[in-house]
């Protein structure tokens, strides 16, 4: 029984496999949300946002995406990265009611989060995580074990939460991080993520032994799979970040047009 998806080196087939560690993780998130928001009365929209974020995490971590991404295809591994680090975190944060966040303000954890979520630090921290977790030796050594694969997934999630916190969370309120600067922050990240994209897409040889030597799935060669991973990072990541920048711009436009609203 495998608890968490990891590279096993066994041939891929499309028969379903259970990963109880993923279910436990998803259940823990739901219970934590319930406990955290008790007395804070989250709105229906907040609950839907949080549930959407958790659902995305579940899809990214469980069979088949989690299993394919952890041991067979670099391109699916990149889809996992986008889901865990760029798509789920803003929804999870947007699902936290302001009243619940205000209640824990001043606590040790929220203070540490406040420190890490300063825009410049968050931007650099996230990109350091992106680079470290795409480093060939790191990927090959972590993906071989369930604990390593779990650590990599959690690094993406933590990095994503810290990256999105200054953009999405209303607490702590940052008058020095106005909406226009948030747009620049998001666009700056698309520029920083260009480096791993370039190396994945234009590398002459496969970077990751895990995917180069994995039992084949479909007809993609290891090189094509890696190039596809680079394109997914570029196009998928760019789409998420530019869409977010567009949403922030819309809020900015509205606030400029109607300062009282």
């Amino acid at each position: 029984m495998q608890w968490w998806c990891a590279a096993q080196g066994i041939p891929w087939d499309w028969s379903w496999r259970p990963y109880p560690g993923v279910w436990l993780f998803v259940a823990c998130l739901c219970f934590a949300y319930r406990a955290f928001t008790r007395g804070a009365a989250p709105s229906r929209l907040e609950v839907v946002r949080f549930a959407g974020g958790v659902l995305i995490l579940w899809v990214a971590l469980d069979w088949p995406v989690g299993a394919l991404g952890s041991g067979y295809l670099a391109s699916v591994h990149m889809v996992q990265f986008l889901l865990i680090a760029l798509l789920a975190p803003p929804l999870v944060i947007a699902g936290l009611p302001r009243a619940a966040l205000e209640r824990v303000r001043g606590g040790r954890a929220i203070s540490l989060l406040g420190l890490l979520a300063r825009p410049l630090i968050a931007l650099l921290f996230f990109n350091a995580i992106v680079i470290a977790t795409h480093w060939p030796e790191v990927v090959d050594s972590l993906m071989a074990s369930q604990a390593g694969s779990l650590a990599l997934d959690m690094a993406w999630l933590c990095g994503g939460l810290i990256f999105w916190w200054p953009v999405v969370s209303p607490v702590p309120h940052r008058p020095r991080f106005p909406l226009g600067v948030r747009i620049c922050y998001l666009i700056a990240n698309t520029v920083l993520m260009t480096l791993p994209y370039v190396f994945l897409t234009f590398a002459e040889l496969p970077f990751y032994a895990t995917y180069e030597l994995a039992p084949p799935v479909g007809t993609l060669s290891a090189g094509e799979d890696q190039r596809l991973a680079g394109l997914i990072m570029r196009i998928g990541g760019g789409t998420i970040l530019w869409t977010a920048a567009g949403v922030v711009f819309w809020f900015w436009y509205r606030s400029e047009k109607d300062p009282a609203g």
Partner: protein, 228 residues
């Protein structure tokens, strides 16, 4: 700038610079400059056996005669293999794609099926074409193939976990040796490449093997098993 930001910037800067330097070559090249093979050099190179099997077009393929002068990479496997065989062939095919034409034409890849019951010549051909249309597929009785493998000091292939043998249409696996055997143009087995060998390893070793092949194949060059 606050100290926290300086530290964060430094960490990220080092990360970015490091990623820029990382490549599969630098990642595992432990023998750069030594001229050593990354494959397993055969301690006492030995003569490849004389044998002839039918190729995927039904023609007789005399191994020693057809491969004389070429660097030959020989592999025993089967097309229904779910893991080792397709990976070995894909990695090898991709590595050969990178070679200059002049080098590429000096290399012959020969795949001998260890599952003659299912690997018909047509199936063998279409499977090998997925990796490289120039790969030669050979077909013969399993007993003969096992004798050839024994001559290459490889363990025999056998149907796994089935006794008596499975009926027609029933799925089964074939246990077989996993290394690619590198045979130089003088008919001597020089090195083994077990599963797990990567494109970067082939890229490192193929020029070395070709140089060795040229030295043992040219008139007056070292020949025979004692040639190294």
């Amino acid at each position: 700038m606050r100290p926290g930001r300086v530290v964060a910037a430094a960490v990220c800067g080092v990360g970015l610079a490091g990623f820029a330097c990382a490549s599969p070559d630098t990642a595992i090249d432990r023998t750069e400059g030594t001229g050593e093979l990354r494959g397993l050099a055969v301690e006492r190179p030995f003569e490849a056996p004389e044998f002839a099997l039918a190729d995927s077009r039904g023609r007789r393929f005399d191994f020693r005669r057809e491969t004389a002068g070429s660097l030959t990479l020989l592999f025993f496997g089967y097309t229904n293999c779910p893991d080792i065989c397709p990976v070995q062939m894909a990695v090898l095919g991709a590595a050969l794609d990178d070679l200059p034409y002049a080098d590429r034409r000096q290399i012959e890849v020969v795949f001998v099926t260890t599952d003659p019951a299912r690997d018909t010549p047509d199936r063998l051909r279409s499977w090998l074409d997925r990796f490289d249309a120039s790969f030669v597929g050979l077909h013969g009785e399993l007993e003969t193939v096992n004798e050839i493998q024994a001559a290459f000091r490889l363990p025999p292939a056998r149907i796994e976990g089935a006794s008596p043998p499975p009926n027609a249409g029933e799925p089964y696996l074939v246990g077989h040796a996993t290394p690619v055997v590198a045979v130089t143009g003088d008919g001597v087995a020089r090195a083994l490449y077990p599963s797990g060998v990567r494109q970067t390893d082939w890229r490192h070793d193929l020029p070395l093997l070709l140089r060795l092949n040229r030295s043992v194949s040219k008139p007056g060059g070292e020949t025979g098993p004692s040639g190294g």
